[in-house]
């Protein structure tokens, strides 16, 4: 697999015109621009690329932690996305679901499906990794959804981060993205399920 470019983006948000919290919110994304081996033609069996993408998922997860100056325990929200260049198809973006999502969950402390629905907290990163995908031109923006890593319904952590790589994807490229946040929205105040009240540990509530 040809990795053409690696791009990282880290934000520190101090306030959004409300009272600044004591700890600024950190969030960001790590991005790989790869050559799309299936560009320009229909290839029926594209699934093998998923295995090849696994090491890339791990590399991006570690890069993102470094860019955020964070350890796995600091990460509270996550998401993933893909932008496929014009000579590819949306399905090429879907290749990222398993290798991107599972790699990031593994790095953040996921212990595997076998532990799901166990009473108490069976590891971390229990929630599905929310995602978006699109076909786009170089410099296309994509909004990567973010949700709490242990329970998708935690309202304070429902968020999104915009990602854009100037110049990518070219027609024969795919942009694969992992995103993480170290906290809730900067001035979250809309109630709902709180992170400290997660009790089902089923990835949702």
């Amino acid at each position: 697999m040809d990795i053409r470019r690696i791009f990282s983006h880290a934000e520190e948000i101090f306030h959004e015109f409300g009272p600044p919290p004591t700890i600024p919110l950190r969030r960001g994304a790590a991005v790989a621009v790869i050559r799309n081996p299936y560009a320009g033609r229909f290839v029926a069996n594209i699934a093998p690329l998923m295995d090849e993408l696994k090491p890339l998922g791990l590399e991006l997860a570690h890069r993102l932690l470094a860019a955020l100056k964070s350890e796995p325990k600091d990460i509270q929200g996550y998401g993933k996305a893909a932008i496929v260049g014009a000579a590819g198809e949306l399905e090429h973006g879907a290749l990222w679901h398993a290798p991107g999502g599972y790699a990031m969950r593994e790095v953040l402390g996921w212990k595997g499906e076998a532990t799901a629905a166990v009473s108490g907290q069976p590891g971390n990163a229990l929630a599905i990794v929310p995602s978006t995908k699109k076909v786009g031109a170089p410099g296309t923006t994509i909004d990567v959804p973010l949700t709490h890593i242990n329970a998708s319904y935690v309202r304070s952590h429902l968020d999104a981060i915009e990602v854009r790589v100037p110049g990518a994807p070219a027609a024969d490229e795919v942009v694969y993205i992992l995103a993480m946040s170290c906290g809730p929205r900067i001035h979250e105040r809309l109630g709902g399920l709180r992170a400290e009240h997660i009790d089902k540990w089923d990835g949702q509530k």
Partner: protein
């Protein structure tokens, strides 16, 4: 801090393959941006010195963020550039006041030297406005392999009363640079040009 900073963004762009060819070592460009309140939004002021003081502060802060993001020693930095986007409540001269009088001196300290002009761009803009930050070799402006630019953009800034200030630092020139001119290894690095 003199600057009222709402948000900081740091990006690193690493190019490993260009036109199918491996770039060895990979080129790396860092971009650090601050979203700050514009103290002069909505009013005319003859004296813009407070913005120059903010520029001095941001030259240090954003320069250091770039060098840290690249994971290099200051002397390993090769090129630099700066830019500002002023929200619609301000005026273009506010960008000039931040960028030109004092920002360069503190930025140069963060990259250990810098005989050359820090190339710059500026514009008025709204949320998500992109600006191309010019890049030039820090010790000799004529080094052709290091003429470049990197795009800076923050999706939710600048608001009308804000300014986005961007600094870019690299540890490399363009990938596959091959159009001749003055080479980095040929420079004297004293007069800022060659």
């Amino acid at each position: 801090m003199l600057a009222a900073i709402r948000k900081l963004v740091v990006q690193v762009d690493e190019i490993r393959i260009e036109m199918g060819r491996v770039v060895e070592p990979a080129t790396r460009r860092a971009l650090a941006m601050a979203v700050i309140a514009n103290p002069f939004a909505g009013r005319y002021s003859d004296d813009l010195e407070p913005l120059s003081a903010i520029g001095e502060e941001l030259g240090q802060l954003l320069g250091a963020k770039c060098v840290a993001a690249l994971g290099i020693q200051p002397e390993q930095a090769q090129s630099y550039g700066k830019a500002a986007i002023v929200g619609e409540g301000g005026e273009l001269e506010h960008a000039a006041a931040i960028l030109h009088p004092r920002l360069g001196a503190t930025l140069r300290r963060e990259v250990s030297s810098g005989a050359a002009l820090v190339p710059s761009s500026k514009k008025m803009g709204g949320l998500g406005t992109a600006i191309d930050v010019p890049l030039g070799h820090k010790d000799a402006a004529f080094v052709r392999s290091h003429f470049d630019a990197i795009e800076a953009r923050i999706s939710d800034a600048p608001r009308a009363n804000e300014i986005v200030v961007a600094i870019a630092v690299t540890d490399s020139g363009r990938p596959l640079a091959r159009v001749g001119g003055l080479q980095a290894q040929e420079i004297i690095g004293k007069d800022g040009l060659r």
